[in-house]
Symmetry: C3
Subunit: 109 residues, 3 copies
């Protein structure tokens, strides 16, 4: 069994949740926030058997859409690091990042 | 050191939190949502030494009660997958699922 | 790649988030609650390459300040375990706890 932590963009959250159910994956969804943009996103916990890792990866890739987002790096009190320049910067958002972790033991009650 | 991610039913959350404190387990609780029923539940993070895994498992099993819940699988806009039939289905809820993950290093500041 | 789960005190959350961005660490922040005090805290997920573990640990240690907090262990309905004595107790809060977990596979979409 592996546990996949997958951080997805807010706009992709519902599409991914529905795609997981249709494909028979069980999951738990946690509201989270990006460390850099401080925008809400979603962290999925998906416990899967090892032979399901590739189908899961394909599902996530099909349901996440990268987009460019111009961000005005505001003054420090906006919560972004002082070290950034004051010019607007373009970042790519909407992708997903996934961390696959080994599970020593899985049990249910 | 192992880190246990344990997803429990909303109704069992407080009972489990209190049982953990009484038994001397330290834990962190995260609000979460089930991928299928989209109902609120709770994800506990419990960092334990290896010899505490069995007592923890026993504690979780004692404090989770399986119940049958009839769910009307509503129309797609209710957020459930279109692929499911329109007849009400009975699912067992209230159990807990736990993923035990190995910790390479634990530190406190 | 390693995934670090780091639980920090509410008061240290923003300082740590900003320090992570300045130092070029990517992170995801999850609102959480302490199992014992039931107070809000924050759980950071930080995916880092192995050679970044020590700099990350130093950053966390620099930005967490331990403080003593006297807590009145109120009646059971306050949510704390019945087993604790009725005298106020002093606990140290504000430190951080971190669990470093190995990542089998990391991918982005
Ligand atoms: N110091 C910096 N300078 C310039 N640009 C920066 C930056 N840090 C992040 N970005 C950009 O901003 C996007 C949003 O980052 P955020 O931290 O809000 O939201 C992140 C964060 O919540 C999570 N994430 C990404 N890598 C992570 C990691 N190694 N550990 C934990 N969470 C991570 O996934 C979300 C999307 O990340 P993604 O890389 O696709 O997209 C990132 C990246 O393109
Ligand atoms: N492998 C895994 N990875 C990550 N999280 C996991 C997981 N297995 C279970 N969980 C978490 O535990 C909750 C209870 O799961 P359980 O299997 O006991 O109880 C489930 C199961 O009896 C049923 N169920 C789930 N998916 C189903 C499906 N595709 N078809 C029919 N019934 C389903 O509905 C109940 C509630 O599911 P829900 O998703 O709302 O809530 C789930 C989910 O949050
Ligand atoms: N092994 C573990 N697994 C998962 N999460 C963990 C953990 N160890 C610590 N944490 C998380 O870190 C927070 C701070 O823990 P710390 O040990 O510094 O500071 C603790 C400790 O000094 C004290 N404490 C905790 N449990 C206690 C108990 N049974 N008896 C007396 N003092 C306790 O109260 C402070 C706040 O605890 P609280 O639970 O509210 O909040 C905890 C919890 O959210």
């Amino acid at each position: 069994m592996k546990l996949v932590f997958c951080v997805v963009h807010q706009r992709d959250k519902n599409r991914i949740a529905e795609a997981l159910v249709r494909a028979g994956f069980k999951s738990t969804v946690i509201g989270s926030t990006g460390g850099f943009l401080r925008e809400g996103n979603a962290t999925f916990l998906v416990g899967v058997e090892e032979d399901q890792l590739e189908p899961l990866k394909a599902l996530i890739q099909e349901n996440c859409h990268l987009r460019d987002q111009v961000i005005n790096v505001g003054p420090p009190e906006a919560g972004l690091a002082v070290g950034l320049t004051q010019d607007p910067i373009t970042v790519q958002v909407g992708g997903a990042v996934a961390f696959v972790v080994n599970v020593d033991e899985f049990y249910r009650c």
